[in-house]
Symmetry: D2
Subunit: 396 residues, 4 copies
Amino acid sequence: MTTPTHSPLPSDRQLPTPLGVAVIGYAFMGKAHSNAWRNVASFFDVPAFEQKVLVGRDATQVAAAAAKYGWAESATDWRTVIERDDIHIIDICAPGWMHAEIAVAALAAGKHVLVEKPLANTIAEAELMTAAAAKARARGVQSMIGFNYRRVPALALARELIAEGRLGTVRHVRAAYLQDWLSDAESPMTWRLRKETAGSGALGDIASHAIDQVLFLLGDAVTEVSGRLHTFVTNRPGPSGTEEVTVDDAAWATLSLASGAIASVEVSRVATGQKNSLKLEIYGDKGTILFDLESLNELGFLDATVPVREQGFRRILVNEPEHPYLEAWWPQGHIIGWEQTFTHQVRDFLTAIATGEAPSPSFEEGLNVQHILAAVEESAAAKSSLIQLHTATEGA
Amino acid sequence: MTTPTHSPLPSDRQLPTPLGVAVIGYAFMGKAHSNAWRNVASFFDVPAFEQKVLVGRDATQVAAAAAKYGWAESATDWRTVIERDDIHIIDICAPGWMHAEIAVAALAAGKHVLVEKPLANTIAEAELMTAAAAKARARGVQSMIGFNYRRVPALALARELIAEGRLGTVRHVRAAYLQDWLSDAESPMTWRLRKETAGSGALGDIASHAIDQVLFLLGDAVTEVSGRLHTFVTNRPGPSGTEEVTVDDAAWATLSLASGAIASVEVSRVATGQKNSLKLEIYGDKGTILFDLESLNELGFLDATVPVREQGFRRILVNEPEHPYLEAWWPQGHIIGWEQTFTHQVRDFLTAIATGEAPSPSFEEGLNVQHILAAVEESAAAKSSLIQLHTATEGA
Amino acid sequence: MTTPTHSPLPSDRQLPTPLGVAVIGYAFMGKAHSNAWRNVASFFDVPAFEQKVLVGRDATQVAAAAAKYGWAESATDWRTVIERDDIHIIDICAPGWMHAEIAVAALAAGKHVLVEKPLANTIAEAELMTAAAAKARARGVQSMIGFNYRRVPALALARELIAEGRLGTVRHVRAAYLQDWLSDAESPMTWRLRKETAGSGALGDIASHAIDQVLFLLGDAVTEVSGRLHTFVTNRPGPSGTEEVTVDDAAWATLSLASGAIASVEVSRVATGQKNSLKLEIYGDKGTILFDLESLNELGFLDATVPVREQGFRRILVNEPEHPYLEAWWPQGHIIGWEQTFTHQVRDFLTAIATGEAPSPSFEEGLNVQHILAAVEESAAAKSSLIQLHTATEGA
Amino acid sequence: MTTPTHSPLPSDRQLPTPLGVAVIGYAFMGKAHSNAWRNVASFFDVPAFEQKVLVGRDATQVAAAAAKYGWAESATDWRTVIERDDIHIIDICAPGWMHAEIAVAALAAGKHVLVEKPLANTIAEAELMTAAAAKARARGVQSMIGFNYRRVPALALARELIAEGRLGTVRHVRAAYLQDWLSDAESPMTWRLRKETAGSGALGDIASHAIDQVLFLLGDAVTEVSGRLHTFVTNRPGPSGTEEVTVDDAAWATLSLASGAIASVEVSRVATGQKNSLKLEIYGDKGTILFDLESLNELGFLDATVPVREQGFRRILVNEPEHPYLEAWWPQGHIIGWEQTFTHQVRDFLTAIATGEAPSPSFEEGLNVQHILAAVEESAAAKSSLIQLHTATEGA
């Protein structure tokens, strides 16, 4: 990851001024990404850009969304948009099955591409995208996948502390992502609960974040996986009667890491009372890190090198100018929201475009996560037997 | 307070379209208010408005700030700005000693006025402003003081629960606002630490918030006050040698309330480790509310009417569509930041302009808080003796 | 489990008066059990008994321990002690490899037997003991295994709430038992780290507690297991050079339960900063339970049947007369210590002897846990493949 | 305070062997003190003693209590007991109005005296006792007042850290003792709610503990007091109709300390949901201490001398052999209960008898707390005006 700094950007690179930005998709992620584009320049030094176009399928709705979210125009045909000379950045928030086609075309057209996770719905598509990104990078065209939790200041701090050796040798990691929006067995069927439209369930949606964090925080690689998937609510009411849920609503895995560490991963959409709780616990021989996304401005840290008499888990309020990204915000103790992880993501992406340094996480890192998810599925199908990963890629 | 709703606004009122907005001041509060204006329409249904002018004394700096924070223009003379026909709203973030002059002039010019707290540096000025606001309101011109913490969703929820009787009879309140930015005795002298420029210290700056919350949450009035002020660090390094600190860095008070309840208030700028911790504890005979601004998305609630066997303090993550203001934001569990309290404030102010209903807190409520602060000072000067307040005004 | 009540015991049973008690073993568990015997009658109505004999191998040391812990005598030969007519209860705190021989002999001699967990070091021994217990029970002789955490009031309350249906259908459980006493790679080799003396490592020692709680709380049975074992520190300094550690210091498992629920279990002795943290999270469709042994007087509970607006995790301070076992102790809010779980255990064991009702957990339940642990080892040896359990026994 | 050590006691002092102990009173405190006497020698090296006599007014009840709590005999006449040659220690748990008479007589008879707080119901009585204690001390007879919270390991650790300078200069303290057993306005009248029998309400009962902690932790003295008392529930049902409550159920005070620090004290018996919550916050320029009696095995500590980037409140689980009193107990992470604060108190009292060193807190320290409480009452009667204390005594 580019270490967040606020030093002036190098002036010698020739950037189009302003950079024209188009976002494709205006639902949940489109709203969150738009918010980031609308605000990033008010807090960070970034190259000049303009919120040019918001793209969506329904002309009326996308026009309304564009007006609401600060875009100069709206459009319904992404193909036309990526051909425009005044558009330099394509930010893809469309459904997963559209990622590959748009991204490959945009990269071919020389546009920098930011794509929401998951990279694609299939490994084949993800590999196509990764190849296209590599080719584009050779021409100075940047690409990045939106694992936005890498931009939570507390997690960026955690990564720094781990990289500095403050945990010593990491032995094991407990990663869990717990939600409860499917706890109610009567909540209705949606496209997210069908394998053909969603690819997978909790595994692809939230285990992907948890696994990316393991890789990001440790800078490690997965070598072996044992997994288990389960669907607790197998039928849900649809518009014309009961329908079968064909994706998992919970998953479990253990991951062997190249360093010798072991990570457990557990995710659920039926963990009643847990709203959006990505919990991370990283145990090293010199210290421990704790994190919970529901309190994302805080980091738990235990330094086992201080005298035993005064050891204890610290709650660090990650809200000081000394902390990653925070110098740009408010005075100490004035916490920031979940939405600003996207602001930081756009800041880092723009910085990469300005400096020419490849941004992280790359499409390759996204593909790597998908290989791991696929291995979890493979293991689950094989009665949880350990599966080797042959093409482990480093986390960052 | 206007109950936050997202129902369509009444269309029969004649509003200038769009409303033109000017913010005066571009430091900390100017940045925070600008952020609110830049984002409010992306989340809430509000009347159409434009970010017209940012006003400040330094032409170069205010021009840069205007560009950064999304304003169409900048200006250095607030007098000219309030005369402009295309400006309908004046949002005052200038230093306290300027509030009265600007607000009175703006109201006289028929502009709706939002003013940062404290209302003014002296009671005389605050009374002038309150009188001007009353006169303006008769002509349909709105005014409001920026006690933004009334717009923390968790506190808005707390007020609802209390108003619904969920705490029963409130007996006592513990309010504390603890910060630590002055803990270091070597941190330098500033204008905020001189009585002539700042008016008062922790008392005016943060006890004002704590006291406003007591009034807001309980809908109650203060009848009697005992107070104490102290300056722990009495000298600080100035540019040309040691200077005397002439305001308090901590204060204590007990407040008698008209209802019979008693509130304790304690504030400090030397509470090491407490960054921005406004803590509220409200004890009723049927339940209790707890809150800490450092975890502003959470509300503690104990319902003493459930069986003893299962009573306990709940941590409510105030982040559901059912909660005040939250329907506009993200899915459950995706927490919002401190900065959005200003977004909600602007939303409520604009709604008041649209509906014609007087917004709250009014200048009168701001003046009321200043009377209470003055009584604390008076009591402190009189060896903490109880001081009667004769003109108690209700909280909301 | 016998529901804790404090009603007078039935007077019609003929009990020896007083019952004579002998404890075998005077190390950590001997100290904890002695403490329970010394105090139980000061808090609970139990049949009359006497602390007769403490048994240990070293005559001098056991005599000193007996004097310190309140025993009338000490002895070195357990065989003689179990033959004494004035001894009616044998409480076995000796090392695991001695359990079977002592327990079988004591039961044959008609003594009621309480045995520390694990039941035995091998399944064969555990089966012998279970058979002996069944035979003894037919003659009115009682036996019990010391899973003392069943007697934590908060966990007894949790079981009640679950049995009452307050969680609805339990979907999944997260159980972890985390300690850190082996974090330091330089801490020396002990008999606990050799397979031949200890049987297993973290698995047998602490996963046994975690698994027993899953069975106890849910009243469920395990049908299938996937597991993994790991030794992070493979060599440790011994008295004459480095020695190999031959047991696990961490373990992971998923358990399928007969009800359809799934439990994850994770244990570690190298979880830096976690001192004695048995964490339990039980997710049902109507509510959730949270627990941490480091705060054993507290229970987390979320009731998902109250309106969403006021849902949240409650911290119940399990310290009211309405709570299990608590009527005997102190006024509300005066918390009890870990040591009192043994006091409650002895109270329940004595009550069972008085009433003739079979105490729980039985030796069979202890054997059942050992079958599950064995299946975890078997799965770990088979690359984590799922292993069927054929003889699942209910938790209670 | 005697620093807890477990080194062998000096053998050269001539102590009666065994020391004979009598406890006077068998209600709540008698039960708690008996528990301490019954257990202290099982954990700590203390001089030999015997639980000789439990004294109470009702012969039948005290005989039953004596049997239950481990006393060899019971008696109804304390005068006879203090004359017995085989009794060397008198532990007074009788009501406050009996303290002076018993203590003075026992000291005169050459018995070491431990007395429950408050020292007495009136200052005159407390002064008599203090004089008697001074005279007795000259003859080698020891006396101590039972502020048992000085023996909470976390608070003993806090005192050590403060004494070592880890907080730097202490600026202010927030002390609160919150309970809720009087929240229900229908809970009946008792002798504790009448001034003539109880002396005072929450002030004497729990503010005394809070104030003693301020003195103990800081080793400081009170010079000036402002106070306020209130009775929220002024009438309660008695056996023959409504009766008037004549003591406070809540109190507030600020205390000026000789060091220049200021402490706020707030106590309540109507703080719904707070069961037994003595909360302490001590703010120094180099660090901060936090404590809550409901989690008495934990200490919050912030070290402001570490880099800002990693500062945060630590939760120290005060449960390691390195911590005060803990070496005697269980392995790390196995928490102890509230009742063991009395075990530690008896251990320290016996150690003082063995070593001849005066134990702390002395009767003088108890008298000092009563002077402070009296000043709070005086201030409350004088509209909270600051009251000077002329005879400030150091905390320890």
